[in-house]
Structure formats: C-alpha cells, structure tokens
C-alpha cells in the first residue's frame, strides 16, 4: 500500500462495507462500474463481427453474430475484481459459456490467448476458461453490453482480475505456451488471482 498523508475529511468514491469473505485483499467495493480502456472504443458492425477458435493458424470454429446468438446462453451473477482496486458485487451477465464454444473441438492445449478488436490480448490457462468458469458475454444487467464496457461481446472470467475479461473479444487462440498479453507483458501477473493478490510479476 502506498504511503500517503491522510487528509482530513477526504473520503473518496463511495466504498461499501461488505463482509470480507466477498472482498479479495486490497480491494474496495463500489456501486459504480468504472470504464477503463487502453484505446479508442471499437465499433465493429455486427454484420462484420465473428468469433473464432484458433489453434496456431488453424481455424477450428467460427461463428457470425447470428450464429453466436443462436448458441445456448445463460445468465450468471458474479462478483468482479479489477486490479485497480475496485470490486463490484452481484453483477449479472448473459453470455455463451466457453465450454459451449469449445464443445466438440480438439482443444488440446494448455493455454489460450484471447484476441480483440483494437489489438488487446490476454492469456489464460485453458482450464481457467473451462468447466463453467468463463463466458463470452453479450448482455449486462439485462441489456445488450454497452460498447464502452466491451460490447458487442467480451470475455468474462470472474475468478481472475478483470483485465482478463477482455473487452471486444473476437476469439480464442489455443496455445502451447502461456504467452503474456497486453498487460501481462507490462508487469501484470501472468495468472492474476485476486484472492492471492496476484497483481504484478513476482506476486
């Protein structure tokens, strides 16, 4: 925790008091939904949008928007934790489970890299996006996902820091190696478990 002089009367953004078993170490709970971005918001028209599963240069599957929306989807309520220290509890999303997307594919790889419009990438072990742990989400709080929050679709991996829930996701590339993505190559932890406070390299 950075040192600092406590200024009389400064409270900051409203931070909710929540039972500590819901809040990972070093986090503050917010009722807001801050928008964080490393670049301009992409606006890919839905007719041009697709989601692909790749292995190396091989395309194992690809769905157009209509095909993607025809897949079975589910609504989930999860807590999310951003590495910038805010946590938001009981957020509701609608999306297609990554298990559904990988179903029937020869997904024999240790890792995946999510790739996105705008060039953002993030890396994860395959086992962290399977068995009900991850979705490609197209709805938030009962509405279509806002572009500034990653719409039309973003990856949702709530058990890891939220930079892994890549906005504007366009596909997953199966990888043999855990290749650091956008933030992972700039000091952010390769895995990112909020409960072990794995924010940065070496944590």
């Amino acid at each position: 925790m950075a040192e600092g002089f406590v200024s009389r009367g400064f409270r900051g953004r409203r931070r909710e008091n929540v039972p500590s078993e819901r809040v990972p170490p070093g986090q503050y709970v917010t009722p807001d939904f801050p928008v964080l971005s490393a670049g301009p918001t992409p606006h890919t028209p839905l007719e041009q949008w697709s989601f692909a599963v790749l292995a190396g240069d091989d395309e194992l599957a690809r769905w157009s928007w209509d095909e993607f929306r025809a897949l079975p989807s589910e609504t989930v309520t999860v807590d999310i934790h951003c590495v910038t220290k805010w946590s938001k509890l009981d957020t509701t999303w609608e999306g297609v489970s990554v298990d559904t997307l990988l179903d029937g594919l020869d997904a024999d790889a240790g890792y995946v890299t999510a790739f996105c419009d705008g060039g953002y990438t993030t890396n994860l072990p395959l086992e962290d996006v399977t068995d009900g742990k991850a979705w490609v989400a197209f709805g938030y709080d009962g509405e279509p996902l806002d572009p500034e929050h990653g719409g039309p679709a973003r990856l949702l991996v709530p058990h890891l820091y939220f930079w892994k829930s890549a906005k504007w996701v366009r596909g997953l590339r199966l990888m043999d190696e855990d290749e650091p993505g956008f933030w992972e190559s700039l000091g952010y932890h390769l895995y990112g478990d909020p409960w072990r406070e794995q924010r940065y390299w070496g944590d």
Binding site: M1, A2, G4, F5, V6, S7, R8, G9, F10, R11, G12, R13, R15, Y28, P34, L36, C82, T84, K85, W86
Partner: protein
C-alpha cells in the same frame, strides 16, 4: 527564471505537503486554493501539479491540476472546478478549509509552458476550466512587465462560468497589449454583445487574427474543444509547432 527551469529538470519529483492558506470562490462551482508548499522549487507558467489524497482507511486518489499562480508568487495557487460525480474535486471545492493539508508534487510539464523572457506573443484559446494555465501565463506576463501582444479567446457555457472575469478585465484595461474576447455557448445575458456560439474558424480569425511572427498559440480545454480549435488554427495558417495543446479531463486513473 531560466535557473529555475534547469532546476526543475534536475530536482527529483517528490511529494510535498501543501497547506491551504486561503480559499477564493471564483464561481459557484470553481474555487482557487492558495497554498503554502514548503520547499517549492519554483515553476513556469503553464505547468501543473499532481495532487494525492489519502483517506483514513488508506484509500488513495490522485488528480492533476494546472497551477494558476505565476512563478513570481511565493505561494502556489490551484483553481479547481468541482465536478458533479467527481471524487477529488468535491473535496477540494467544498470540504477543504484553511489549515488543511494534502500531498502535491510538481511542477510538471515542459511543453505547455510560456516564459516572458522568451518574448513570444501569445494567442490563447480557453475552453471552460482550460483558462487556468493560460491565466498563469497572463499573470506572469503582467508580473514580468512584458508588453508582448497577447490575445485570449475564452469560451464558457454562461457568464456565471467565467473564471477570473474581473481580473481579466483589469489586465485588458491596463493597455499593455492584452485583448480578451468571450464566447458564451449556452446562454447569454440580455444585451450581450460578445460571441454566442462554439468557437469556430471565423471567430478565431477575428479574435486571434492569424499567426504573427514568433507567436505561439496555447489551446486548453476539453478534448473536443482542443482538437477542433487546433485544427482551425492550422487551417488559418499557424504552423503545427506554433500550436500547443493541453487536453483537460478527469485525470483519475480509475
């Protein structure tokens, strides 16, 4: 102050403790904080500071604010606009009292700066609270006794949003080469004779005239304002290196 500029480069940027000495209400949502900053190394007009606030539970927030005071002042003055959903500005404008202290580091900035000693004529365009660093330049110009031509086009929503109105009138009335023009974009008082629309190429041509030899244009305000004004100035003949910009907006990282 050339020595101070060099010192500014060599001095490590450390957090210092600023003490509020005086609060000046500029408009209903804008206040100036006059600060004592022990160890302040001096600054150049146009530079800014980072302010860091820590709450009792260790929570921290950091924002950047332009320095409103000229280098000639001993104290450092910041002018802050309270933002509706802000986190730091409602503390600085509304909660803070004389005697309160908070952390501050600076001065920061080497591009959006003006020194009277260099003598460049000033063509200034301010959008809203973007007036703050430009006011530091005009105060420095006056304190240094500089008579270089200075022209300011100041855009705000209403007359009530004009910061430093009386002081700008005084400086302009001094007859030392400063002209000030206002445009009120949302509402104008009856009988208003100034501009009443968003800044455009034609208004800039009328007010700033065009690139004089050696003039530097400083444009400061929200991103949209800065982009359109800078483009218009280049269109009017200013060379891109003559147009310096600083975008204002929430500087909180999260």
């Amino acid at each position: 102050m050339a020595g101070a500029a060099l010192l500014g480069r060599l001095e490590p940027l450390v957090w210092r403790l600023a003490e509020v000495v005086e609060i000046v209400a500029e408009t209903p949502s804008v206040s100036s904080l006059v600060l004592d900053v022990p160890g302040w190394p001096g600054h150049r007009a146009g530079q800014h500071v980072d302010v860091r606030l820590t709450a009792e539970d260790g929570y921290q927030a950091q924002r950047s604010y332009s320095i409103a005071s000229p280098p000639e002042d001993d104290q450092v003055t910041l002018t802050v606009e309270r933002l509706e959903d802000g986190e730091v500005s409602p503390y600085l404008v509304g909660e803070v009292r004389p005697g309160d202290r908070f952390e501050l580091r600076g001065p920061i900035g080497g591009y959006f700066v003006w020194e009277a000693a260099e003598g460049a004529p000033l063509d200034l365009a301010a959008g809203g609270s973007g007036i703050v660093p430009l006011m530091a330049m005009l105060r420095h110009r006056a304190a240094a006794g500089s008579g270089v031509r200075a022209r300011l086009l100041y855009s705000t929503r209403t007359l009530d949003d004009v910061i430093y109105g009386d002081e700008l009138e005084r400086l302009a009335a001094d007859g030392d080469g400063l002209t000030v023009a206002y445009t009120l974009t949302r509402a104008q008082p009856s009988g208003w004779a100034g501009y009443a629309r968003r800044v455009d190429r034609e208004m800039l041509a009328d007010v700033l005239g065009g690139p004089g030899a050696g003039a530097i244009a400083f444009v400061c305000g929200p991103t949209g304002f800065v982009e359109s004004v800078a483009a218009a100035l280049v269109d009017l003949g200013y060379e891109p290196p003559q147009v310096k910009t600083e975008r204002f907006g929430p500087t909180g990282g999260e």
